[in-house]
Amino acid sequence: MRIFLSLVVLAVIAVGIGKTLMEIPFGEDTTNVGGYYIQSGRDDTGAANIVTSVVVGYRAFDTLGEVTVLFVAAVGLGAVLAVGSASGRRRDVEPASLVLYTGCRFLFPLILLFGAYIFIHGHLTPGGGFQGGAIVASAFLLVYLGCRGRRIRHGWSKATESLGGLVFVGLGLLGLTAAGHFFLSNYLPKGTVNHLFSAGIIPIIYVAIGFKVGAELAGVIDDLVEESE
């Protein structure tokens, strides 16, 4: 009965979505606002990557909200898993094999470097703070898999996370007061397009986001791993 009802609901939704999809032409036109971003995004923000100029330039306030959502989810996960888990017993985990251990220790700095490259060059090439932060977090995941027993220190990850958020908000407020424009306005010199030091505050904010996202996702993994041992 329940499955039958579910299938009826699903059929109704399928007809609705299908009819809507048939009406939307594929591969034809961009939206007006998208056309504006493409036409003048390079001159407005100085970033070669238009997606970056939308995420951190035009819609930076939106990104601030998103980072806040990520932060709240990480804090909520910590709160959910921390309740009543203070048992204190630590099973001795079986150490990883030598090959895995050495490989992880060899790869860890390289993956960190790659993540840093991704988020430093976010305004020039594909990538940015979110992708680079995820790669940094996967480096920490590798440490948890290969070098068992090693933990990131909670104080340091929390400090990194807070510092990233503070840089983001502080740069935005500076634009509000010192430069006399609006919140998160791009007040630094734009430089030449396609150079590393260009696009004003965008690379700085993306580096801050990279640190913040990396610390948060590593903290999420840390919470779950600590719970499972």
Partner: protein, 119 residues
């Protein structure tokens, strides 16, 4: 063939959305439901990106001189999906944390057996 050319991506997004919804509606295991949420998430992202696609377009990056700005795909859905993916992983982690806590308290992941969740 022309149907495939116009609608291949839409078929993928449509199928993923429906399969995700089916998992959420039919399955009773909490982890399975969260897997369904992740599939649904991917389907919606694929749909949004394929709406912004422009045939004979290029990626919206001025990686070298002489790229025609008139033939770039729409950057707005890409920016939205970028944020949606990151929020998706945060929501999934929170949901999995809740599922782990429920398993610790009730000893099961079956929604039928967790009386307080019964509908």
């Amino acid at each position: 063939m022309s149907f495939l050319e116009s609608y291949a991506y839409y078929v993928g997004a449509f199928g993923l959305i429906l399969i995700g919804l089916l998992v959420i509606l039919v399955k009773r295991n909490l982890i399975k439901i969260i897997i369904g949420l992740s599939i649904l998430d991917t389907g919606v992202n694929l749909f949004l990106i394929s709406v912004g696609y422009l045939a004979s377009g290029t990626a919206p990056i001025f990686s070298r001189e002489g790229i025609d700005s008139g033939s770039m795909v729409d950057p707005v859905p890409q920016a939205l999906v970028l944020t949606a993916i990151v929020i998706g992983v945060a929501v999934l982690a929170l949901a999995l944390g809740l599922a782990v806590r429920l398993y610790q308290n009730y000893g099961t992941l079956d929604m039928r057996k967790i009386k307080e969740l019964k509908w």
